[in-house]
Symmetry: C2
Subunit: 348 residues, 2 copies
């Protein structure tokens, strides 16, 4: 090992850069989705996902109650399971705690996690508690899925419609209202509370899965969809809508067109946000924990109809490798979205 390599620090390459270097220690077939899939039986796969959250980095008592921190941590992991098509089996919780943390804070954290888990008929099944100079929460979630129903990022094909299961931008808007309560004087309390609730209590979309499979099974029986068309591509929008579409396109080797006017946003956005702010929250806000799914147009239409309010077809998968943002109303110029640059309109 030369001295340059041995002096390289984590901050020089970032967490993402380090993760890429460490992938050589993992089986290659495991990498690249919201969660790992392990075949445990002919008719069953185990789906596993893990998150580490650190006080001051991922949550803070300043903006988040312990109940909400617990709910959000559980929801993020359940959303990763939903993104793979898996039903939850349970989560484990590893806690690192300074001695000065109050017991009631920890119990309220567990209360929040449990409320979220109970809503989705699952529970905390194990854990570890250790001393640490910084409060740290490590969650691992387990789920199971029939191998034919695994949703992968890499399965999008040209011609697929892109479905979102709900509005985007609400969580980010809620965070802004928590940090700056004086914003949005034109909204009433109920409207503000709805956005704040979207941030504090995001809903992992496990409810989408049975609806999705019912539609696909029905269409298959009707001969409208062939077996191969039962494959659905997708992931969750935890890191933002733009991120989700770009990640799916990269993994599938395809491009996409995203239609501005088709993206569902909270109705209240135009009352207090500029079009630019609204678009930034919508594309890059993150933590809405909706599903972004790619499937044939007819099936996509049926899915959107069944899911109801908030769900929509927002674009289509194209040949090529670029994700093109298109605004029919020409308020925004067409542009290629990328992870590294964000929305170009706001770089100045």
């Amino acid at each position: 090992m030369n001295s340059e390599l041995s002096s390289l620090q984590v901050k020089d390459i970032g967490e993402q850069g380090l993760l890429e270097r460490l992938q050589r220690f993992c089986p290659p077939e495991i990498i690249g989705d919201d969660a790992a899939v392990l075949v445990t039986a002919p008719e069953q796969s185990l789906v596993v996902t893990t998150d580490v959250l650190v006080d001051g980095v991922h949550f803070s008592n300043l903006t988040t109650s312990p109940e909400d921190a617990g709910w959000r941590a559980a929801a993020a992991n359940l959303s990763d399971l939903a993104a793979m098509g898996a039903s939850p089996l349970g989560i484990t919780v590893g806690l690192g705690l300074p001695g000065e943390v109050s017991v009631s804070w920890v119990e309220r954290l567990y209360q929040g996690m449990t409320e979220c888990l109970q809503k989705y008929n699952t529970s905390i099944v194990g854990g570890d508690i250790v001393r640490s100079p910084v409060t740290t929460l490590a969650i691992t979630a387990f789920g199971q899925v029939h191998p034919s129903q695994i949703i992968r990022r890499s399965a999008a094909v040209v011609g697929d419609a892109i479905v979102v299961t709900g509005v985007h931008g609400a969580s980010r808007a809620g965070l802004e209202l928590l940090l700056h309560p004086e914003l949005a004087p034109s909204l009433n309390n109920e409207e503000k509370t709805a956005l704040i609730h979207a941030h504090q209590r995001p809903q992992p979309r496990l409810d989408v899965l049975p609806i999705l499979w019912k539609i696909l099974t029905l269409r298959q029986a009707q001969g409208i969809a062939s077996n191969s068309q039962l494959s659905v591509a997708g992931m969750d929008s935890s890191d933002g809508l733009a991120d989700a579409i770009i990640q799916i396109c990269r993994a599938s080797g395809v491009g996409a067109v995203l239609e501005h006017r088709q993206i569902p946003v909270p109705k209240t956005f135009n009352h207090w946000l500029t079009p630019e702010q609204a678009l930034e929250y919508t594309l890059y806000g993150g933590e809405d924990f909706e599903l972004v799914l790619c499937l044939p147009q007819k099936l996509a239409s049926a899915l959107v109809q069944h899911l109801g309010e908030g769900a929509a077809i927002v674009g289509r998968i194209t040949a090529g490798s670029t994700v093109l943002f298109h605004d029919e109303q020409k308020k925004f110029p067409d542009q290629v979205l990328s992870l590294s640059q964000g929305f170009q309109h706001f770089d100045s």
Copy 2:
């Protein structure tokens, strides 16, 4: 909530006290073994265990290379699976890292984990890397087991023999030699290295499981063991031999007699340790990661014979609730072992 409760801190009740308070958030059937068991199919259960390790608390660059820290972390989790009778499916690794940690340190940590996992035909299947003020390693291991082969702490019955699968005290002795290389001048380098290796590279006893089930299946076929006798109680000795026996007795509602002269220890102990030191390392040293199993005498004898050197019957399960330490040679007085007090001889 009264103010007394709300001001209670983690340090007031300790990690163990907190864990007990938090058990109300978990399904009651999950608690009390080395790992949680989830039924995923009629013929298959999922076993899950998690550990959090914090720099300066659980490992330190002063005594442990990153490779050894990685090996030990992986081995501890695989040992928890072995303690439940489960074969490993994989582990997830959550890392919290300060920016100043060198990339090569992290890669060497992963190298050590991977070396251990490969030896047992398993691998890292997922993970998360985040910024943190303190290096933190959260490992979750999962395995599978046929429901009839789950090893539980609570299944010991009066008359069972207590089997250890190997020597105890070696890991603790190895740590002492690392911290104080000047100790044990009477040992040659090979002898010292063997003890240090036991500390740095503990071997989870997954190899015991197929031997155990082969013996039990054979005896069942011969009509020597009935179906009900196929149930084996046990756990691993990660927190020490005394701890393991006491925990099994508590969970099973039984007592035990532990025979001093039957406990296998490293041959070199009597060359450099006083009998008191040797006994303390043996009973309370911890981290030997052997299995402590309770099963009928005939089966226990067959198991010990198949396992070979280091394995032994060290005592028997009795009625009552006390774990009695007995020294046939009368070097040590008979006494009741307890978790809170340690070996009485050394309290002064």
